[in-house]
């Protein structure tokens, strides 16, 4: 059962899901293959919120891995998406984060595109005074940026370049879908957007999100204030294909809990002078304090009490990534509930009492494995499978990540 964890040939993968060779976080060839096989492969990528493009002509720019993408609302109300790359010389078509247009025009040579990304006109196509211009047989319908399939679920816009991706509900699986709908059950409103640049491979961050084992050990704040402890109720669900996960923590039971005594994370010295920011309401009519949900490759939905956020992972080379945070509330929030969200926002984000550590720990691994291409990480808590569990003292969800990653990468 116990496998050696050293001296693997680079490129080889140990049997099973309990070992992850460190070269996967460092190899530029892996990063290049991930773009074609994962981000442009047969899965769904989160692109933006539906409310980012409410009206015809509204657009928002986003990323699908390394591929720049425009999401737009077309004349018939449909949300469409296409590569943000002019068919002429490859320049970005849109330079802003978002806006409202009648059509799109590349700044370089004024090639125009309609709202669906179809090439509509080429400047000086017939030349000037009968000279120059494009050949008569140049067919503008044969040129244009790559178009995405788009689907909208719970106000989230997802896209894929693959015709083989199953419908989004099948991709996520029924169990996690219920948890997504639990939170995103009515119209949301953006209350903040921030970008955190992390000094690590994107997979280290996604593993951290899916790692239910670390949360109450790394994050003293969680443990001390009993936001999430492994001894609290809850569990982790992993979809059969490994694509989606959701971890939940139920509200703490009253009374003493000495399961963390002696661990650094249980700091009983820490007392809040202003505990008002921990004031919360059970807005989803259940006892789930905390729910972290992810959809492969790069989408995360966070509910920590009333602090809600969508996070999008965008790789930037093998050892860097952007994490785009969109803090959300609901359009019908009462002023009291909105005030709670703003104060609880201190838990998450780049400066979050909890999340700041997740921003750093991937970098600790990235630096730690600087010469470990022949070695492997041990991912063995809670067994060897990627099945749902009624405990968070498991790495089942991390193994689920590798299950889908390896399926898409073909390794």
């Amino acid at each position: 059962m116990d496998q050696p964890v050293h001296e693997l040939p680079i490129g080889a993968w140990p049997a099973g899901l309990t070992r992850v060779p460190f070269w996967v976080y460092r190899d530029p060839d892996v990063a290049r293959d991930e773009q074609t096989r994962v981000f442009e492969g047969p899965g769904w990528n989160y692109l933006c919120l539906e409310i980012d493009v409410p009206e015809t002509g509204d657009y928002r720019t986003t990323m699908m891995g390394a591929m720049p993408v425009v999401v737009a609302r077309a004349e018939d109300g449909e949300i469409v998406a296409f590569e943000n790359r002019c068919a002429h010389r490859g320049s970005l078509i849109c330079l802003e984060d978002g806006g409202h247009v009648k059509d799109f025009q590349c700044v370089y040579h004024s090639w125009r595109y309609d709202l669906r990304g179809n090439l509509a006109s080429v400047a000086f196509r017939r030349g000037v005074n009968g000279k120059g211009g494009m050949a008569d047989d140049f067919d503008i319908t044969a040129h244009g940026p790559r178009k995405l399939r788009v689907t909208v679920l719970c106000g989230l816009v997802f896209g894929t370049l693959s015709s083989e991706a199953p419908d989004i509900e099948t991709y996520i699986g029924p169990d996690v879908l219920v948890r997504l709908r639990r939170v995103l059950h009515k119209k949301v409103e953006v209350i903040g957007r921030f970008t955190q640049q992390l000094p690590c491979n994107w997979k280290l961050y996604m593993e951290n999100v899916r790692d239910t084992y670390h949360a109450s050990l790394l994050h003293t704040f969680f443990t001390t204030f009993r936001i999430t402890r492994l001894s609290q109720g809850g569990g982790v669900m992993v979809s059969d294909n490994g694509v989606a996960h959701v971890s939940t923590t139920l509200a703490a039971e009253k009374g003493p809990d000495d399961s963390y005594s002696g661990l650094r994370a249980d700091n009983q010295e820490l007392k809040l002078r202003d505990p008002s920011f921990m004031n919360a309401v059970a807005e989803f009519n259940d006892t789930i304090n905390l729910q972290i949900l992810s959809i492969f490759p790069g989408f995360i939905l966070q509910q920590i009490h009333n602090a809600l956020a969508v996070r999008q992972i965008v790789p930037r080379g093998v050892d860097s990534m952007d994490l785009h945070w969109t803090y959300i509330g609901f359009a019908d929030d009462t002023p009291e509930l909105r005030a709670m969200r703003l104060k609880q926002g201190n838990l998450a984000g780049p400066a979050g009492f909890v999340s700041m550590e997740d921003g750093a720990v991937g970098g600790f691994v990235q630096r730690g494995i600087g010469s470990a291409d022949r070695h492997a990480a041990v991912v063995e808590m809670g067994g060897a499978t990627a099945d749902s569990a009624e405990t968070r003292a498991t790495e089942a969800s991390v193994r689920g990540f590798w299950k889908i990653w390896r399926a898409q990468m073909g390794v």
Binding site: F194, T195, Q196, F221, N267, G345, N346, M356, E357, G359
Partner: protein, 153 residues
């Protein structure tokens, strides 16, 4: 008044840069608002902050967490402050706008321009006549934070 407010800014920055973080909440009134946001969020009117505190006690809690709870690599800041642009208000408070630049130096010596932006301050005198921040909105020019924001700006 300009000198007093510039001196307050300098003293506040010195507390952060010299590692006397526990002194930092003392530059604020008991009832205050401290928010770190970005130019884009500010212009769009988004309410959330990277840090959002509506009392001096919340600021003290954040500092306590930095000492006793949070994990981050050893680092220090160097604030370079501009001249405050002040505007006395009819109610006796002062609105001040001050540019800042923060260079962050990590334990291994790596330095970077970590943040640049403006402090949008509202100042009032406390019971002893000393100027204190009733409100400090830290508007960072960049929407991007490198790794984490631990020490306040």
């Amino acid at each position: 008044m300009l000198t007093e407010i510039a001196a307050l800014n300098a003293a506040c920055a010195q507390a952060l840069d010299s590692g006397r973080l526990r002194d930092w909440p003392g530059f604020f009134l008991d009832q205050c608002l401290y928010k770190v946001t970005t130019a884009e969020n500010y212009e769009k009117g988004y309410q959330a902050g990277l840090i959002y505190a509506d009392s001096r006690a919340m600021l003290a809690d954040r500092i306590a967490a930095l000492y006793e709870a949070n994990i981050y690599e050893r680092q220090r800041y160097r604030h370079i402050l501009g001249m405050p642009l002040i505007n006395a208000q009819a109610d006796g408070s002062v609105a001040a706008e001050t540019s800042f630049l923060v260079v962050r130096t990590m334990r291994d010596g790596q330095m970077m321009v970590f943040a640049a932006g403006i402090y949008l301050d509202r100042l009032r005198q406390d019971g002893d006549g000393a100027w204190r921040y009733a409100e400090r909105i830290v508007v960072c020019d960049s929407p991007r934070i490198d790794t984490l924001l631990a020490i306040p700006l």
